[in-house]
Amino acid sequence: MENAAKPFIIDDEQAGLFRVNRRAFIDPDCLEQERRAIFDRCWIYVGHESEVPHPGDYRSRTVAGRPLMLVRGDDGTLRVLLNTCTHRGAMVCRQRSGNAKTFQCPYHAWTYNSRGQLIGVPGEDSYSDGFKREQMGLVAPSQVDNYRGFIFACFDPATRSLYDYLAGAREYLDMVADQSEVGMRIVAGQQSYSARANWKLLVENSYDGYHGLPTHQRYFTFLSDLGIDMRASSAATPNRQKAVDLGNGHAVVEYQSAWGRPIAHWVAPFGEHRKPHFEELRRKFDARFGPERAGRICETSRNLGIFPNLVINDIMAITIRTFFPVAPDYMEVNAWALAPMEESAQDSALRLDNFLTFLGPGGFATPDDVEMLESCQRGFANREVAWSDISRGMKRAQPAITDELQMRAFWRQWNRLMTQPKLRQARKAA
């Protein structure tokens, strides 16, 4: 266990070397520390406001290891509530989704309204005066906030506001949210899958431009077989790509891609008949945002990582992907498609079709990503090889999407949070 005493990362700016201790991927103690130092302290994505549009609408899901409910109250307010009866613990919401006026705990029939207030306790007269029903409502996380429809929760009251936390990532969330004039919506259907790999490997993978060609060769062959002009990709236009550290561990890659985009980049396989419609769509964006920003929104693809575990990839479609560690070598992944509410049924069908070419557990790319992450995880059993190298492009003034600046941005923040409690303890001891 000599390695346990070594740092998590080696960040040598002068030599241009960045290494991650593989202990971070395999050590159960490290995962326990992550739960406390990262998942209990950061803003964590819960869902999208469109998932509960009407009063009484709810969704139950597990977020950061906790069973939560996303509920729109009868007052129209969207809440995140911890799905556990304040009496003795049973989950009060037992369905995946639905609409309800009340949530009744099946164990002893305590009843809560859609705002989380406790409104019914059978045999309430048996309780002392010290028992205050109004104090026994369903509990909410310390902080819940909404940025342009994306709902986040934070279990630490001391963490700064969501707005500040998102930092440079806001600009990129805006470019997603701005694709609709009335609001974006989560499309029905959740891709619920997993990987036998550490969760941080999926962070790295989700905006890794370096792996594209070797790992996804079959996808690019598929595109060129369809008649897509592959010269439109970033490889041919290095000036139209960048990797950006967005602060607080968030990062993005932005690039010109060969594939078509539902907003609003037409390619031949979409069909000649759709071309005028795409041109019209693009003109609307030009009018709303001016040609430069419209060009960015419509023509570039962006893989955005929001620390710690939210990925919003606006590529051949928009996917929201979030994932949680269950064990050092196993994570659960949930993914959704996001679309403008006003999009026609035809356009939406095209979007979903385009999504499935690449993305998801049955796509032509995601399964190979999962395979690679699992392969890394198995490789880590060779403890003699203690470090992974993430140095690529470290000395480059303008990092490319095939460099590893994105991952270094993540790892630096991860390391800050993971080593902070120790600092505090050290100070205390001193």
């Binding site: 499309v187 619920s192 998801g360 995601t366």
Partner: protein, 180 residues
Amino acid sequence: MESLDDPTQAAAGEKSRVTPAQLPSRQEVEDLFFHEAALLDQWRLEEWLEMLSEDPVYEIPPTDVPEGDSRNTLFIIADDGVRIRSRVKQLLGKSAWAESPHSRTRRIISNVRVLGAEGDEILVTANFAVHRMRYESVDSYIGRYDYKLIRRGKDLLIKQRRVILDNEALRPHGKISFIL
């Protein structure tokens, strides 16, 4: 709508071009399912393509909307003919890493039923348990096949192949990288 002997079939099939008398027997449909399972388990995917019609659909709905429509619901797979043929080509190539090397699979198919017909499409269903073995893990995919078949001469061809999973999530499977 259960079997050939069902007298209600005549009424239900009035608009059909496939009459109840022309419906395949359960044994013929079982033979189709079993033959397909053998081809897929043996990775004889080009021969499997020959079992499909010219305009086939291969769909796997998401686990939370098992009866959904791929035009308005995010599926796991919604392939048309071009996509299916490309999928096969990829799987038989070397760079479909999730299946290179290939998994071992074993399909158990049961509860085969001939449900009736819509126009020239024959509706059949079966239960499946497909086990995938790779890197010494065994993942079980459990569910139902809903097929639409069409008659071409002596042959039955698969026009629509809908694979409805009972698994609540692809956990711990992680992916559907082979033809399920």
